[in-house]
Amino acid sequence: MDLSCTPEEEDFRARLRRWLAEVLPGLPAKPAATDWPGRRAYDAAWQRRLYDAGYAEVRWDADPARRLILLEETERAGAPYVGANFVGLLHAGPTIAAEGTDRQRRRWLPPILRGDEIWCQGFSEPDAGSDLAALRTRAVRDGETYVISGAKIWTSHAEVADWCELLVRTDPDAPKHRGLTWLAMPMDAPGVTVRPLRTLAGSAEFAEVFLDEVRVPVANRVGAENDGWRVSMVTLSFERGTAFVGEVVACRRVLGELARAAHGNGRWGDAVLRRRLGRLSAEFTALWRLIQWNVSAFRDAGGPPGAGSPPGAGGPPCPFELGGGSVFKLRYSHARQELYDAAAEVLGAGALDAGHPWVADRLSSLSYTIAAGTSQIQQNIVAERILGLPKGR
């Protein structure tokens, strides 16, 4: 067991830190949350700088240790978030890298790394949330084209995306996991309508996407027809590896801020609050260690199906597919909610101020036990896939 970095890793970290210290002060001001084109431009420009400096590929590095360092250091330095590049870098890109043809990889991967093209995700549907495989958006083959109708929900950046990674039903008669297909849909195709979806936080971070006889070339299909479930699971397992690194770093920073704020406003004298913060400190430190543990296991298992793997290469099942990501997510989503409940205690009546950033984060934290697999579903996964308890009921 080793928590220190290799000389190469230390070198990478030092170089990255220097670079961040150099470029971050010169960044323009962040655009407003409602300025979607501005946000796209800002996020894309940052991605381009990462690309030019040679850091973009690290997101897809077969060795997750460098990815971990990249995510840790950019968060710590206060660099821009992945933002509009999220789906391209974390979902669609790795899927195309692992399952696409050479031609598809050449077409779609470089623009993602350069920040030239933005992707969004069309998986969830109003009636297919926890039961994703029950999705009903239909794609009917018409020669070399699929004709697609249906509705998707919880799509981030839909307003400004160029592409949508879409999961559709191509065989309505097959068992529900077997009739799905993965497609890359251009967002400017006729028949695509985007409607913003307001969340309880008051913002419109997500959208609904309505599809009315949208025509997508068969050449945009990644993987075989009706093999989309397996193809999309590659994506999901990749996400669970290091997706939360930046957030855990941020949570630990917020925890320190809470302690200092409580110290400043007199609430530090409340032993119940103080000890709660102390416990959360142990919690987030352990979650950070669990990430390091999982990343190391991931590496031992041969890494995720990343950009470097040949198309279709399976490799051994990675620990995230086996539920390691579920263990992390179960505890992290809970700890994050506890963190912002503690923030509310620090604020007292100030927690009734929606303008306070901690209050906004408290509201958004409410989705953590729901999005990307509810805690109930995650517990099923842990119980069945790791502990081997019988399915059913």
């Binding site: 067991m1 928590l3 352990a286 190391s296 109930q376 399915k391």
Partner: protein
């Protein structure tokens, strides 16, 4: 960074697991429940296998391994509920003659606790008591006051005045040390800055001993927590109610899943603290391992239902031992306060 067991560490863990399975199987466990006097022959076998000399330098006849390996072995003793002051013997193998071989058994007490509880008093040949003079002199405050000063009391077991104690854990007889003045203080010294450079009192680095005792105790809690997950899962797969294994019901599934989550979070914390040796990391590891051991034992009991409530089931042995360990070398109230103070001091380590 490679935060996974090395091949050697894996081999060590498996070796200890096999050894303990052979030497301390369920029959021996239940025999120990009925009569908790330590088995000296077993103790010598453990000594011969290097369990106590694990961290002694090879030059001193030890195995020359480090804190991570110590944690792995203690985790295994926690899994099987091995009775006896294993933590004390591993920590003091280089200090008290005969302990490394398992010939002699030494106890280690936290004099800052109230009362000062001594595990297996009748089995120990010697007792080492760590204390800070202010609490020795009865001012009571273990917290904060004069952390700079330490006293170590070393005494043959027979000379320690104590009162009997009805231990809640049938595997761990206890006594309360009455007066530390009755202990022959073979070495007493006051040190002003012990935090750096390991000043020794009676040959012992007291702050480090406390830290490591807490960490190794946490490792035992981790082993117990991991074991109760296995017990619950095994029962949930076998036990049938309403025409199906109870493990097919979500309520039972989710209890088991949360048990695993607690265990893996505690494992991350304990293993990392073993690597860093950091005082706050250890406080956090103890906190999470205590919680995992206690709550897992409770949930394991719930999964077992009525059968778990019997004396014959092993569930209660895990729970009671977990309660006991949770009170030793830093209970939750103390760990949480230290971690909170660390947040203000900005000490919460990263990386």
């Amino acid at each position: 960074m490679h935060f996974q067991l090395t091949d050697d560490q894996r081999a060590l863990r498996n070796g200890i697991r096999e050894m303990l399975a052979g030497w301390f199987g369920r029959d021996r466990l239940r025999a120990a429940v009925d009569d908790p006097v330590l088995d000296r022959a077993l103790w010598r076998e453990l000594g011969a296998a290097g369990l106590f000399a694990l961290r002694l330098p090879e030059a001193a006849g030890g195995v020359g391994l480090g804190l991570p390996e110590a944690v792995l072995t203690l985790e295994e003793t926690g899994r099987v509920l091995l009775p006896g002051p294993v933590v004390a013997c591993q920590l003091l193998a280089g200090v008290v003659a005969g302990v490394a071989d398992g010939d002699r058994i030494v106890g280690l007490c936290d004099g800052a606790a109230e009362p000062v509880l001594w595990e297996h008093p009748e089995d120990c040949d010697e007792l080492i008591l760590l204390d800070s003079p202010d609490s020795l002199e009865g001012s009571g405050g273990a917290q904060g006051r004069t952390r700079e000063a330490y006293r170590v009391c070393r005494s043959p077991a027979g000379q320690v005045a104590r009162t009997p104690w009805t231990s809640v854990d049938p595997l761990t007889p206890l006594a309360a040390v009455i007066t530390t003045t009755a202990v022959t203080a073979s070495a007493t010294a006051t040190v002003t800055d012990p935090s750096r450079g390991a000043p020794l009192v009676a040959g012992l680095d007291v702050p480090r001993l406390r830290r490591e005792a807490a960490l190794l105790t946490a490792a035992q809690q981790l082993g117990s927590a991991a074991r109760t997950v296995e017990m619950a899962v095994a029962h949930a797969r076998e036990r049938t109610q309403f025409g199906a294994p109870i493990g097919s019901f979500q309520a039972v599934k989710h209890l088991c899943a949360q048990m695993l989550v607690r265990t893996e979070i505690a494992r991350s914390a304990v293993y990392a603290a073993a690597v860093t040796g950091d005082s706050l990391d250890i406080a956090g590891a103890k906190l999470l391992a205590d919680e995992a051991a206690v709550r897992n034992a409770r949930d394991c009991l719930q999964v077992h239902g009525g059968m778990g409530f019997t004396w014959e089931a092993d569930v209660h042995l895990h729970l009671k031992r977990a309660w006991l360990r949770a009170e030793r070398w830093g209970a939750a109230r103390e760990a949480e306060e230290r971690l909170a103070a660390g947040l203000i001091a900005g000490e919460a380590g990263t990386g």
